[in-house]
Symmetry: C2
DNA sequence: CAAATTTAGTGAACATTGTTCAAAATATCA
DNA sequence: TGATATTTTGAACAATGTTCACTAAATTTG
């Protein structure tokens, strides 16, 4: 079907156009400043059109959050070749933190904002694939470390969550602007130092 | 001045009435659902009146955030009698986490929301007293631990920040509903286990 | 005490948001 | 070409934060 096929492609293209406009806008102006109207204006369509392709704003934010996870996974995948699990774990942390610092709006959307989770809740299978896949990847690496004798006396699941929490906490405090005010230090520098400090803590047997 | 005095008191009372209504409303309905109109309705005054006592919504949220810090500080102060610094550090962490779990909206306001920080930014002395006092208290205890031989090879400032980040990360992931979806586990239980796991990690010399 | 002045409070109105939907424009097909 | 189906539009709605001309009350003054 030549026509139907082309139409489907065009629909996909407009959908992608909306998503890209949204992504650009909120990397530029921030998520809060990115309105449906501003997206519509950017692509030179009307507000109504956006709602033909997306149920609501939550869906748009959810799709962008998924894109964020794809990007993060891609960056993490380059570390699979590191055979020493502890080295890989450290590298994962570093990559995670760099991602957060270089894509603050995206990170915020993925791990702090309510919108994408609201969308997940509305789905029949209320499964947060993106989150559980990411956590699985972390846990697998932690498991390998444990098999090599690291983390004696710890349990896999809580330990993995603790590691995630620690790095997330740093990134989150940074993105939500609590670091400078509380510590009086240059945030980027402190985050870097604290991360190294954390690695030191991890590596103790 | 009898009259001026009474007036000042009445002003203070209405101010407090507004703040209390706001606090009740958002512990009950959540911060996002607490509008200026709902506050005005609650105290049976008009919207305009609220704006006679507060510059804007950010100011209301900032004052409540300060109240939150007072409450947290109060709970922490009960631990000053613990003389062993490492025991005190652990207890501080436990208290911090309990506070977050029992006052989720308040915690979110204090450490995640943008509004109170926007207000701080607008002040001439852009100092986040609440945050720096809290961090100082933590750092002092960490310092005492180091003096007792804990945390060899670590530096005070980054280590203190790491500890804060870790506990904050757990609380934040919980409050922003990322825990269940990513780990597939009961969030409260995991938070509890992970915190114990973290203490284990801290205590290694 | 009555008038003038100051202070406190009101709520309609505005701008901005997400969202909807009847109508218009465009594309497809017979 | 004309009928039908699809796509797009943008005015309109509800909810929100915010403002401000007005009213009401309290206080001061002569």
């Amino acid at each position: 079907m030549g026509v139907a096929e082309r139409k489907a492609k065009e629909k996909e293209e407009l959908r992608a156009l909306i998503l890209n406009a949204a992504k650009d806008l909120f990397a530029e102006k921030g998520i809060d400043q990115t309105t449906i109207r501003s997206i519509a204006k950017e692509i030179e369509y009307s507000v109504g059109t956006v709602y033909l392709y997306f149920k609501d704003k939550n869906q748009i934010l959810h799709e962008l959050h998924s894109e964020g996870f794809l990007k993060l996974a891609k960056e993490m995948r380059t570390l699979f070749h590191v055979s020493d699990p502890m080295e890989r774990l450290k590298a994962l942390g570093r990559t995670y933190m760099s991602f957060a610092l270089e894509n603050t709006q995206m990170y915020d959307l993925m791990f702090n904002m309510r919108a994408p989770m609201e969308f997940v809740k509305e789905q029949e299978e209320q499964n947060w694939h993106e989150g559980s896949n990411a956590f699985d990847a972390l846990r697998n690496t932690v498991k390998e470390c444990m098999d090599q004798g690291y983390f004696k006396g710890h349990s896999l699941q809580p330990l993995s969550f603790t590691i995630w929490s620690c790095v997330h906490g740093m990134c989150s405090l940074y993105i939500r602007e609590r670091v400078k005010g509380a510590t009086g230090q240059d945030p980027e520098k402190l985050l870097y130092d604290a991360f190294e400090d954390f690695l030191l803590m991890l590596v103790k047997r």
